[in-house]
């Protein structure tokens, strides 16, 4: 699995395996074997002890929502092109996103596809899950537990 299937732009990283595991249904972090510090998003290197001997560990997936938004004016990559057919138009309805804290210091960003943004509240209990999109790209979604 190419890392780009998750990251969209960045293709080369030492934590490439993250994308494979995500496709396989697991959200993985890395853990420093020397000092025990855990990283999500995963890092190949540990700035805490300057070590690079890491092991992979699945994260807890339930936590509380730190914050959220719904971006109505998307960047170019995500923008909807208007159809060429005269008198036609596309109604764009964006999807909210949020940051879930599954453990202290482990924030998981994800889409919140099933909620009206006005009903989303900071502090909500939610669960993060891997999700494969119709175009084969892999991502993470957050849902109320």
């Amino acid at each position: 699995m190419e890392f780009k299937n998750f990251s969209l732009f960045i293709s080369q990283t030492k934590v490439n395996r993250f994308a494979d595991d995500l496709a396989g249904g697991k959200i993985m972090s890395t853990l420093c074997k020397k000092c025990g510090k855990q990283y999500y998003p995963p890092q190949a290197d540990c700035p805490s002890c300057m070590g690079s001997d890491m092991e992979w560990k699945e994260i807890k997936t339930e936590g509380k929502l730190l914050t959220f938004t719904k971006i109505h004016v998307p960047p170019e990559h995500f923008a909807v092109r208007q159809p060429l057919m005269p008198f036609s138009s596309i109604q764009f309805e964006p999807c909210p996103i949020g940051i879930l804290e599954v453990e202290k210091g482990l924030p998981v960003m994800g889409w919140i596809p099933k909620m009206d943004v006005k009903r989303i509240k900071v502090g909500m209990k939610m669960k993060a899950s891997p999700f494969t999109l119709p175009d084969g790209k892999i991502t993470i979604v957050l849902e109320v537990v």
């Binding site: 990251s7 969209l8 732009f9 938004t69 971006i71 004016v73 924030p107 960003m109 900071v122």
Partner: protein
């Protein structure tokens, strides 16, 4: 350490400048700056150019376009970059060039030509100034990052959308009095709160503008400054702080640690505290950013920023006038030029040349300029004497 002063200022018109290229914008600002100081370029020892985006300038060496066009070669010039705080990074570099003894007079230029690309491309370029690997795949944009800060601030302190809109109303009012501002028009509170949502809960009038523009200042060592200018404005304190790349990794989502760190250093160096500041320009890329800046700079208690604007304490005549040049919100935000433009406004205020926007007897001023969603922050404190 050698003392350094601002001895010349030049500000081009901010806006959609489809009439001029990047280098032509710089020429306007540099010309104004030389006229203001009475110096010629021959007397300037060194130069620093602040440009944030390669993608806006279509080349990796925008600084060369600049020194070529104003005819500064063969003297030193290079580019510095710190996203939206590029202009302040350039000023800091200019200050270091003088205090180190490498030069006595330094030209600091900030410029951006953002409308060279379509708005959606500009949105994308700025969105990727967050973490392009781990945040951008979720469609994040600049308004998106600050919207997440706004939602956290509202949940924790009860800050309201109306309070945020009041920041926009203030900054548009002062922008209407600033001839260099992009949007010289007042807005009503109703117009601000009913404008369309850009990133929930931030609406159109909560957001700063996509702007073309340039600004330039001349810095000089103490001995030179006194002979060049009757009203030198002294750099009294400089602070720089940084924070995690991703919002989720920050200690706080309702405060910018980078700003708090920079403020601590700058206040200490200048030997002043928040209550000594007579006038400030803060980084209001979004209305929530100005509210958070009030708190992080110590102009009010944590969580009280919404109330400070509600009580109009940041207007001229209030406890601490903020962004009385219109701010990024209404003056415009050409990334590389913004920090330099902030220093120009403070210079005008301390010289007593800010016309209708003048804060009476302003002695001490502060600029606060943030890069990205708070990854880096620069604070400069200036004194009249």
């Amino acid at each position: 350490m050698r003392k350094v002063a601002i001895v010349g200022i030049g500000h081009g018109k901010f806006g959609v400048r489809s009439d001029a290229s990047l280098r032509e914008l710089v020429f306007e600002a540099v010309k104004g700056c030389l006229d203001d100081s009475g110096l010629s370029l021959r007397e300037v020892d060194s130069m620093v150019t602040g440009v944030a985006g390669d993608e806006f300038s279509f080349g990796i060496q925008p600084s060369a376009q600049v020194h070529d066009y104003i005819g500064f070669h063969p003297k030193p010039n290079f580019r510095v970059e710190a996203a939206c705080a590029t202009g302040s990074a350039a000023l800091r570099t200019g200050w270091m060039t003088i205090t180190s003894g490498l030069a006595d007079i330094v030209l600091v230029v900030g410029v951006e030509k953002m409308t060279e690309v379509p708005t959606s491309t500009a949105t994308e370029i700025m969105g990727r100034a967050g973490d392009a690997t781990w945040e951008y795949p979720f469609g994040t944009t600049f308004p998106g990052y600050y919207a997440m800060i706004a939602n956290a601030h509202m949940a924790e302190y009860g800050t309201t959308e109306e309070q945020l809109a009041r920041v926009a109303v203030k900054n548009h009012y002062y922008g209407s009095l600033n001839p260099y501002a992009q949007m010289q028009k007042e807005i009503t509170l109703e117009k601000a709160v009913t404008s369309f949502t850009v990133a929930y809960p931030l609406k159109l009038y909560d957001c700063s503008l996509i702007t073309d523009g340039a600004a330039a200042i001349l810095l000089a060592s103490e001995e030179k400054a006194k002979s060049i200018s009757k009203k030198p404005v002294w750099v009294a304190g400089l602070g720089c702080g940084t924070d995690a790349m991703r919002l989720g990794d920050r200690k706080s989502l309702t405060s910018l640690e980078a700003t708090r760190e920079a403020a601590k250093i700058a206040y200490k160096m200048a030997g002043v505290g928040p209550s000594d500041i007579d006038v400030a320009t803060v980084h209001d890329c979004f209305t929530i950013a100005e509210v958070v800046a009030y708190e992080d700079l110590g102009f009010c208690e944590k969580g009280e920023g919404g109330k400070l604007i509600e009580a109009k304490e940041t207007y001229v005549g209030g406890r601490i006038p903020v962004n009385v040049d219109g701010g990024l919100k209404s003056k415009g935000h050409p990334l590389g030029a913004t920090g330099v433009s902030m220093a120009i406004e403070i210079t005008k205020q301390l010289r007593g040349e800010a016309d209708q926007r003048q804060v009476k007897n302003a002695e001490i001023g502060l600029t606060h300029n943030v890069g990205g969603s708070g990854q880096v922050s620069f604070i400069h404190i200036f004194r009249r004497q």
